[in-house]
Amino acid sequence: MNLALAPETLARWQFGITTVYHFFFVPLTISLAAITAGLETAWVRTGKEKYFHATKFWGKLFLINIAMGVVTGIVQEFQFGMNWSDYSRFVGDVFGAPLAMEALLAFFFESTFIGLWIFGWDKLPKKIHCACIWIVSLGTILSSYFILAANSWMQHPTGYTIDKATGKAQLTDIWAVLTQNTTLVVVFHTLTAAFLTGAAFIIGISSFHLLRAKRRRERGEELGEKRKKQVGAMRASLRVGLVVAVIAGIGTALSGDQLGKVMFEQQPMKMAAAEALWDTQAPAPFSVFAVGDVSKGHNSVELEVPAALSFLAHSNFTDSVPGINDIAQREADAYGGQPDDYIPSIFMTFWGFRLMIGFGMTSFVAGLIGLWTTRRKRWLAPAFRTGEDEVPRLMLTKKREMSPLLSTWSWRIGILTMGFPLIANSFGWIFTEMGRQPWAVYGLMKTADAVSPGVSQTEVLISLGVFTLLYGVLAVIEVRLLTKYAKAGPDTDEKPPAKDPKLRLPSGGPGGPGGRGGPGSPDGGASAEDEDADKPLTFAY
């Protein structure tokens, strides 16, 4: 059989495509849920309209995203069984538990309360409605925790034993799986990266609107009340985005450093590959640029920072870091086969690692610069003020108050940065998953042994083709829709719900069992309901 079309290769491509694709939506969902929740809280607490408009606006973009995140997530759960049935048999006892917990503790919350949030604007009291989006946010975070616990077990198996009779992994300690350092550090790293992603998304779109407002202003157009309100909502959002980007950026860097140290210890091959460090060195240099040659076992081009890798791995400038050749030999001795069998794609790991850090850090730096240039003293030109609540903070005119960095170009950079964390996330996953090869579960099961033996090449080819095509088409539709709604900006004509609906329980409740009675019922609820009987829904599909 042609190796390029072997079921294993096809199944890996499918897993790679569907997972990277799914993970475009995941970090945006995690962060936008929390940020939308924060904005709604600001609205509930202050009653300021700009927070309401910002909530509705980012909420809308969040919903366009989560729709894709939810449906592409179903594939993830099914495809372990479909393409990787031997893997599922081998690990199910351990790996299935966090997956099932994810469904029971996170998905149900997310999916149920998102429905309440979308449709419940005029049905739920403000505070309860706001609580719904917080529950969704909590659900997304819990969900990532459980799935990362499962993934961490593949990176570093723990809390298990191999059953002698069946040869399968068996769970012996769930807490070890849920609380091992790999899990905790990865969760921290992924969540901070997710917030960096959402922050960059918000910075990009806010920048777009503020740049547009600035241009209109420069052309001498008078901004109407609606546009002024939009600027208000976008400025508030921009600040939120910048603050989150900086905090999340620092968190991503710190957790990334921690994760690197954990990986040096648990998967030295992955980190050696990330650095294209062929030979064990003490102290080991950090490679800035390298062109590796696997067949020769060394790099043909190299640019290094001396001793920096030792520092990353061990926090000192002297200790040795094991190289690819030594680790490969060691693994071949331990597990059989040739050393070459244990070397992952150096090209993908080396460059994946660099692109992850490069794009991630660029968006962090952009956030930092943005936060500085929009700091307190910069003021919002009078033409943009809505009078409601604008403390002068951010200026948009070209006149005297202008910081040199806040030119048209800095807004453009803000827009451009939007996609950077998405690229960083993708390469982060490609790096960490490809860096673990040839293992599916490190040290326990090779990817080649994990595929479904009963599934034919044709079947995997069909599903790979179908998913690639489907995801491609949906990507076009999604991006277009997102662009349309992002460009339209907040609907500042929309009024917040006029009255706060009372929460009424099926029976009992404040009015007692008779509360649902006729118009004369004590709380008057029934008559209020009659009044609204013909009112159109505030939101409908």
Partner: protein, 333 residues
């Protein structure tokens, strides 16, 4: 009772919940082309399930995840064995979910019409395929000595399985019509009741022979009880529908769905995937199960979470209890 027997029960319960809930979701999807006369009516139907369809679908994800955790071998054989039908279901569920969320997001007629086609076909196809898959599951499929599926696609396309598919399709559409009658108002509500009457009879015509066939093929005394309950519930649901007792009719059509699913699982037990090649190669609740430790942990999580989940999902239905009519549908954006 062994823990793996309890987990068999729980997974049966999750599937039953899934078909009870997403059954009417699928039915509503199919009815958007049968019952609704224009776009506003289609939107009335879609919005009856708008706030809840996503939560309903999680029952499937949980059934899948629970099977993975409690019966890894069952999960592995089931999902790799029914590869192509499951692929089709996945594609449908993806498109259908996106269709609900995106249909109203652009005003163009073509955009909305295309997503409406998606909602119809991607409700119809899974409603059919689930029946075909479960019919195969209960009847037994070629499973080899190593526990892997050893057949091809043609082994799944038996008349028995196809009839099973037709049964779930018609049953879910009936269930959806009864739900529409309960949740809508005005002209569409009257028509939904009329459709329910017809679809209920159609369900009886296909479901009774199928259940008798399934009972003869792999049934036992317990499953016979479920068959009787399913048939009775369907009959009484039809009577209630005729009398305009929509709440009762919906409750009973739900009982009919649940009893039909229960019948299949009762016929299955103690096996989880019988092999048509050699009974010795069948997967059973005992030999496909996880270790007692894993089952114990999952039991704690399940026993604590399931009542809570059911409580807040029920509350969601309460919040959105109001009937929807064409007058409630806001103009397109």
């Amino acid at each position: 009772m062994h823990l793996h027997d309890f987990w068999f029960l729980l997974i049966a319960f999750l599937w039953t919940g899934y078909f009870f809930l997403e059954g009417f979701d699928f039915g509503i999807g199919v009815l958007t082309k049968l019952l609704a006369r224009d776009r506003t009516e289609r939107r009335v139907l879609i919005n009856t399930i708008g706030p809840v369809w996503d939560g309903n679908e999680v029952w499937l994800i949980t059934a899948g995840g629970a099977t993975f955790a409690a019966f890894p071998d069952w999960y592995a054989t089931l999902f790799s064995g029914f590869y192509l039908p499951l692929l089709a279901i996945l594609v449908c569920l993806i498109l259908r979910g996106v269709a609900f969320e995106y249909r109203h997001k652009r005003p163009e007629d073509r955009w909305q019409r295309n997503w409406e086609h998606v909602i119809f076909w991607c409700s119809l196809l899974p409603a059919f395929l689930w029946g075909a898959i479960f019919a195969n599951l209960v009847h037994g499929v070629p499973i080899g000595r190593d526990g892997n599926y050893a057949g091809g696609l043609s082994d799944l396309l038996t008349p028995y399985a196809l009839l099973g598919g037709v049964v779930t399709l018609v049953l879910f559409t009936f269930h959806g019509a009864v739900f529409a009658a309960l949740k809508t108002d005005g002209d569409i509500r009257t028509r939904a009741r009329r459709y329910a009457a017809g679809l209920g009879l159609a369900t009886a015509v296909v479901a009774v022979p199928f259940l008798v066939w399934a009972q003869g093929d792999s049934g036992n005394v317990r499953s016979l009880v479920a068959v009787v309950i399913a048939v009775l519930a369907l009959a009484v649901a039809l009577i209630m529908n005729r009398r305009g007792r929509e709440g009762w009719a919906f409750g009973l059509s739900g009982v009919a769905v649940a009893a039909a699913v229960a019948m299949l699982f009762l016929a299955l037990f103690p096996e989880v995937m019988p092999s048509s090649l050699d009974p010795a190669w069948s997967l059973t609740a005992a030999n496909a199960a996880s270790s007692p430790y894993t089952l114990k942990i999952m039991t704690w999580v399940g026993v604590i979470m399931m009542p809570l989940i059911m409580a807040y999902q029920a509350w969601t239905y309460w919040v959105f209890r109001k009937r929807i009519g064409t007058r409630h549908i806001p103009a397109t954006h």
